[in-house]
């Protein structure tokens, strides 16, 4: 499957040729793959360098004079480092733009914790005018970006390094809507890209052992599809949240907020409790964090066997 980063570059070319307001600024990454956009849209591509707060701040300035900015670099630097710029220069001032990151969670598994990012989704969720999209496949990014990019708001797209490998139709993708991939009755598994593939494999294991898991996938978490979550949890009464985000906020928080008022239900949470020290492949760090199909299935069994 095409990578999300390549899809990002192609989508910029596609949209940029239709919309002369689109301007792309990067922090010295993806420079090569964006040359198509640069050639197709002269004067609207800038490799600003290693100065993420300034890139975000400048993007707010571009929007102030009517342009539609897209800023792009590595997740911890464009969100955590530049959060005050996102908060004040876009949020406080009611300006709009698009932030496209790569390297969220521990995608840069061989580079260590300086390049990990667990809190970006949470940080953006604090801003009322933000949307948060976590596309796990190229069609998700292309479809949702085109629906959101020119609308009022701070649009954050977190591109995982590896697509989850599951094909969706563009018609399946509606801003603010989740997708039920599998029906079940014993528990609900809620997840986001790219752990969808592990969660799906876990659901198959659980079925083989007699547990019926309903699998919910959320390409966008803000706005969050509360109806989908409530309908599922109202049926299963058990919720397992699998997310490559900080355990202290994120998808679990969104699910619990959606579940307010539902009668008694049980919850388990697979998330990142602290820095994920060490190196390796994404799969190896996933396993260490408990995200493997076996780890997810074990948590599901714990959830279903508890009183």
């Amino acid at each position: 499957m095409k990578t999300l980063r390549l899809e990002f570059a192609d989508t910029m070319s596609e949209v940029g040729q239709c919309d002369p307001r689109l301007v792309v600024m990067v922090g010295d990454i993806s420079h090569g793959i964006l040359q198509g956009f640069a050639k197709a849209c002269p004067g609207r591509y800038y490799n600003i360098g290693i100065c993420e707060p300034t890139i975000v701040n400048m993007a707010a300035g571009l929007n102030k004079v009517g342009l539609v900015p897209v800023v792009h670099t590595i997740a911890p630097f464009i969100t955590e480092r530049a959060y005050e710029q996102i908060k004040l220069d876009f949020g406080y001032q009611h300006l709009s733009g698009n932030i496209v990151s790569v390297g969220g969670s521990f995608d840069y598994a061989q580079l260590g914790c300086s390049h990990h990012c667990y809190t970006d989704v949470s940080l953006l969720c604090h801003l009322k005018r933000a949307t948060v999209t976590i596309p796990g496949s190229p069609v998700e990014f292309n479809t949702l970006f085109k629906k959101l990019y020119a609308t009022d708001g701070i649009h954050y797209y977190r591109l995982p390094e590896r697509p989850h490998g599951i094909e969706f139709a563009a018609s399946d993708l509606v801003p603010g809507r989740g997708i039920r991939l599998r029906e079940g009755s014993d528990l609900t598994i809620a997840t986001i890209a790219p752990q969808l593939s592990n969660a799906l494999a876990a659901a198959e294991r659980l079925a083989a052992s007699g547990l019926s898991a309903e699998l919910l996938y959320f390409p966008m978490v803000k706005p969050f599809d509360q109806e989908l979550l409530r309908a599922s949890l109202g049926k299963t009464k058990r919720l397992l949240v699998v997310e490559e985000l900080s355990a202290h906020d994120g998808l679990l928080n969104l699910c619990l907020r959606a579940a307010i008022g539902l009668p008694g239900f049980s919850v388990r949470h697979l998330a990142l409790q602290d820095f994920l020290h060490g190196y390796g492949t994404h799969e190896e760090l996933s396993e260490r964090a408990g995200f493997s199909p076996q780890g997810i299935a074990k948590s599901a069994h714990d959830l279903c066997s508890s009183p």
Binding site: I48, C51, P53, N57, L88, D89
Partner: protein, 247 residues
């Protein structure tokens, strides 16, 4: 004789009435801001969002009392606005809020934000082949922020010839960091640099009158040797008056 004594008096009255404000910082820059609105900026007070306007961004937002009295003098703000400064009934506060203050171009306060916004505005206007000019007023203390130098570097390399920075060089920064050769720093970043007395009508007129703007060219900086608290002997300088309210 001190310029703009009337504006300084209004600043003091606003701050005393509300119990909030930075008088010395505002006295340091009020002459520059008034000069810009009176003689340099192309603006329409009754049409603050006029698309052809020049942009003025007060990056050192805590000096906003000076901006407010100038915006009032030039017709952007009403007497009622000034009376309700820093109260729940009003729209003017201790830092400007672009969403509610006519004539304010950025919500500043957290230092190091207004200037990078100005760089983005300058680039955006050039992309659209528009001839508006952009002015941003920074504090010398604000020049401790890394984003100022990130942005100075970017603006110079992008050759944003439609951009002018003004630095309020009143010695705040040197209290902490005595190596304070701001002209050399800005020159090193490739900016056309002038140093003037920011309280002199003649030098303000000569400096801003000499600027030439273009879509591509070196950005310009006017470094104004100012006096914090200028115009009131016991307020001048650095000390307890920074955020003090008169009795």
């Amino acid at each position: 004789m001190t310029l703009n004594s009337d504006l300084r008096l209004k600043i003091a009255e606003m701050v005393k009435r509300s119990g909030e404000g930075h008088i010395p910082s505002s006295f340091s820059i009020v002459d520059i801001i008034d000069h810009l609105y009176a003689h340099v900026l192309r603006v329409r007070p009754k049409e603050p969002q006029w698309s052809e306007r020049d942009y003025f961004i007060l990056s050192k937002g805590h000096g906003c009392s000076a901006l407010y009295v100038v915006l009032h003098k030039h017709g952007f703000l009403t007497d009622e606005d000034m009376l309700h400064y820093s109260t729940a009934a009003g729209r003017l506060g201790g830092h400007p809020d672009v969403t509610i203050v006519p004539g304010a171009e950025a919500s500043t306060g957290s230092l190091g934000h207004g200037f990078p916004s100005a760089v983005g505005i300058a680039l955006g206007l050039r992309i659209q082949a528009r001839e508006n000019r952009i002015f941003a007023l920074l504090g010398d203390g604000e020049c401790h922020e890394g984003t100022i130098w990130e942005s100075a570097n970017v603006a110079s390399n992008l050759q944003l010839g439609n951009l002018c920075a003004i630095v309020d060089w009143n010695g705040s920064a040197a209290q902490l960091m005595p190596r304070d050769d701001l002209p050399a720093k800005w020159r090193a970043f490739g900016w056309e640099t002038q140093v003037i007395d920011g309280h002199s009508a003649e030098e303000l007129s000569a400096a801003f009158g000499s600027l030439t703007f273009s879509a591509r060219g070196n950005p310009k900086v006017v470094i104004a040797r100012n006096t914090k608290g200028k115009g009131v002997s016991f307020v001048e300088g650095h000390g307890k008056w920074h955020h003090r309210v008169p009795d």
